[in-house]
Symmetry: C2
Subunit: 558 residues, 2 copies
């Protein structure tokens, strides 16, 4: 990025386009870069062994002197989860509202980065001057309190980033969206709107979180014994409504699952959860109370194999057993890919004899989304009346559908930009066009390794997972190339060895014959030996089993 | 099974309980065994490298003299797909309706079993005497024509197996369900009803297949260019409606995808598809016609990576390209677990510039289920008025919910049996109770191997897929145990070797040191050497990387 860019506005994503998660958007004017959010995503099914995925921040580290800070819209993992990795390589100030910073601080503490990170508390009324860019905020509704959208005033015009949002006209805990401020921003003029596309495929309005509260209270009333309820740990509105349902039905509440305990602790310390005195009890106290005086709030709404709910369902939780007749409510919708896990957990709960209230089929689920549906997306578009529109946060099809909605409310078709990560929109003299691409991509994190697992390693893991591996070892004489020991074949993940002795003996014979023949032909370069062994053995095994295990020939020399 | 059983009726599943797929139910009276269906299921996500799963038929092969035959309810893979494997071990007659046998025969031909298998054509009016058991049939509605339910008249009473069903009052091609015969069976008295639970979680009625036809025709009319439509190859009713939509909109039709071509060929030869003369064209003829005169029927409605639709979406299909402005209709709902595949295919189609009509979110999907919802399940229960009820075909929670429906329509709670595969219901003197368990389970098929991949192999594949493998080879002297060559470390799927040289060098040093120390301590049993190397290396790698690759120490001796 040379001087030519100094009077341009650049807008792009390092993550968050064409995917759910790993959100990170960048707005740059001349020498000032503002980063919005720093999320992670969970690995796709072909990223074997990978723990999490973060965006490639090469562009930011190369321009580290220009980065004025990271502004956070809210405290969900796909918006803050990448911070511990990003801040290690890019120590810049982090701006967030009270709850968001509270959650970030817990995360940084765990990573040992709390001391060295500059954290700046903002609220919806804050105004920041970040070089030539001025940032203001507006309250939004989302499935976590203290969510904000961001307006970046630049010399080229105002760029609005909605964060994640819905319009909830009856929000829990009076967390109203600031329609007046949004309309005010729209009245002053919006150059470009970046808006959440997660639910762009859903028609209508997303129901209010409060509808869930009413259902929950009804279920708590009907339950004759204990209520076990699992939901997303971060959905503090819902947790408040669960507390309210406990109060209305005179139940004590205990909390199980590490992330649930963490969030409840942080949110109640910061005043985002209002828990009546004496309601919270320890898990080991529940057995002293009558069943209809007890509720248990748990993680595991996605059926995660190690979560508290799954362990309770398998009767392997250290402290809490679910009893026949208990009511278990799964107050969440399975994230695509998790349906089978949730299904299995529900199966186990039914086997125990619990009454299970869950989502699949059209049995009433107890959940509403935190993201706005089509009518709300149109409302945001009409509040902002942007000249340019950039749909964000979503798979490609969602961005496309969101683009169609923008067209429907009057944005010019050629003013709608559907970008891939790294694609830029350049604005100069009030005119936007697609600019050149910046570095972007996935950084895979496996254990302590950041980026050391790439395509070759993943391809090998995939191969190994399908048909296993055969290692062929042989020791040759340095002097005359004759076989001193072996060939030995060791397999893992291929066949059950005890029942396949004949096959492996035959395989051994084929390797021996291949080697002997090569030696008679005076072939003795290792590369040829290995290739020939691999080919002969691979062919034989495929004929016999229709499998293609990885074959690893190793030659030792003495 | 000794003489004690000779005057008992036994009912059990070898597959189909607590799972979707792999359906196989067994009814036995004294020395007569009747098997209903012989399905396969696709592997669960932890069955790495497995191609398909069939039921353990040990009980049937042990009692092979008693098995009178396999009755097939319809031609779906989860009801007939296991036949090529089962018939190899159990050569018994197979009974099916015309279309069902047509599909079975194509399958047996491929497996080279057609000549040696006795196939007996039945229709809904057939009556079979299978030893002491008499079988009659009744027409049902399902997403494939020629589906039947089965009534087995035994000395203990009538056992009814519904097969898969819905009630479609406006079926395609006049394939009416035979309500009169069902009611007649109910009037005569039903001892036990085994009924399809697939949609037991869905309230209301499943809409008629015909509603899809109306939508399709509308979409075909609106499409300005070509229509590409993907659906389940076996859904012949839907294919007929696609043909009808082509006729109504004067489009020629071409068929792509191996299974789609197969089914269309078989079904039209047998008279289950009515294709106007001249409508079918070859894929390479479509470019000669105007876009609005062409439709393309394709496999790939589940986004399967190798399917025709996915290849067209990636512009890598040999014969057909999708062009900007073409309309692509996905006339199917993603089976749980396939959502991401379908999503990616839709993304690719949008990128090409196609108009995509698909299911997720609440954008109109073009699909109805072939399985009855709760009101239809209650209707079946009330038509049959059984004394005993055994919900079949479904995950445990679906069976439980179906059981609750049966209770709601008046079946005694203690007369409802929710079984696992292998659990038996024994009936004697008109009284049913849970009997002893018979052998049952999953047989995993990987390539040509049937049952040779078990838990150990799968556990190794899982390990290998997560963190890869390190092979450590060393050649020792037979005489004094000294190291003659190595240790060498070769890794696959662990780290990218070129960027991790330091780590692997250090690993090598640790192995050398461990071996040297052991030799100085006069430890030279191979088992100890291997264990010590594994432990030391494993500890080091975990500390450095937080990964636990499989470590395979190999000692050669010269």
């Amino acid at each position: 990025m040379s001087k030519k860019n100094q009077d341009k506005l650049l807008i792009f994503a390092l993550g968050g386009v064409g995917e759910i998660g790993k959100n990170m958007y960048v707005v740059q004017y001349a020498n000032d870069i503002v980063v919005i959010d720093s999320g992670l995503k969970f690995p796709e099914e072909d990223m074997l062994g990978i723990d999490i995925v973060i965006p490639d921040i090469g562009y930011l580290t190369e321009n580290r002197d220009k980065v004025r800070g990271i502004l956070l819209t809210h405290g969900h993992e796909d918006h803050i989860g990448g911070l511990p990795y990003v801040l290690k390589h890019l120590n810049v100030p982090v701006y967030g509202t009270k709850l968001t910073l509270g959650l970030v601080e817990a995360k940084l503490k765990e990573a040992g980065l709390l001391g060295e990170t500059k954290r700046i508390l903002i609220n919806a009324d804050s105004e920041l001057q970040l070089g030539t860019i001025r940032a203001t905020f507006f309250k939004t509704n989302h499935s976590i309190p203290d969510s904000v959208g961001i307006c970046l005033e630049t010399p080229e015009g105002n760029v609005v980033h909605t964060g994640d949002f819905k319009f909830d006209h009856t929000p829990v805990n009076e967390q109203y969206a600031d329609l007046q401020r949004m309309a005010g921003i729209g009245a002053k003029g919006v150059l470009a709107l970046l808006s959440d596309s997660t639910n762009a495929e859903r028609s209508g309005f997303t129901p209010s979180e409060r509808t869930v509260g009413a259902e929950l209270e009804e279920m708590f009333r009907k339950a004759k014994q204990r209520v076990v309820i699992a939901t997303f740990a971060s959905n503090i509105h819902r947790i408040q409504q669960i507390i309210d349902a406990c109060e209305a039905t005179r139940r004590k509440l205990t909390v199980v699952g590490r992330s649930m305990v963490n969030v409840v602790t942080i949110a109640s310390e910061l005043g985002y959860l209002h828990i009546p005195d004496g309601m919270l009890i320890e898990p080991d106290e529940i057995n002293k109370l009558a069943g209809d005086r007890v509720a248990i709030l748990s993680t595991g709404s996605q059926g995660e194999p190690m979560s508290a709910l799954t362990r309770m369902a398998r009767s392997s939780h250290r402290k809490v057993d679910i009893l026949p007749g208990d009511t278990v409510i799964i107050a969440a919708t399975p994230i695509p890919g998790n349906e089978r896990y949730v299904g299995r957990t529900v199966d186990e709960l039914f086997r125990i004899g619990a009454n299970v209230i869950y989502g699949p089929g059209s049995v009433t689920g107890v959940h509403v989304s935190g993201h706005g549906s089509q009518e709300e997306l149109k409302l945001m578009l009409n509040l902002m009346r942007p000249k340019y529109f950039i749909p964000i946060h979503g798979e490609y099809r969602m961005l496309r559908v969101h683009g169609m909605l923008a067209e429907a409310v009057g944005v010019e078709k050629e003013n709608i930009f559907i970008l891939d990560n790294g694609d830029t929109v350049e604005v100069q003299g009030g005119v936007a066009r697609k600019g050149s691409k910046v570095q972007s991509g996935n950084i895979l994190i496996d254990g302590l390794g950041v980026g050391d697992v790439g395509n070759i390693v993943l391809r090998d893991r995939k191969l190994l997972s399908q048909d296993g591996i055969l290692v062929v070892v042989v020791t040759l004489s340095k002097q005359d190339g004759s076989i001193l020991s072996g060939p030995d074949i060791i397999s893992r993940g291929f066949v059950y060895v005890r029942e396949s002795e004949g096959l492996l003996e035959e395989a051994n014979r084929i390797v021996s014959n291949t080697l002997t023949k090569l030696m008679n032909d005076k072939v003795n370069e290792w590369a040829s030996l290995k290739t020939n062994v691999k080919d002969a053995l691979g062919r034989f095994l495929y004929e016999q089993t229709r499998r293609r295990p990885m074959i690893l020939p190793i030659i030792m020399e003495v």
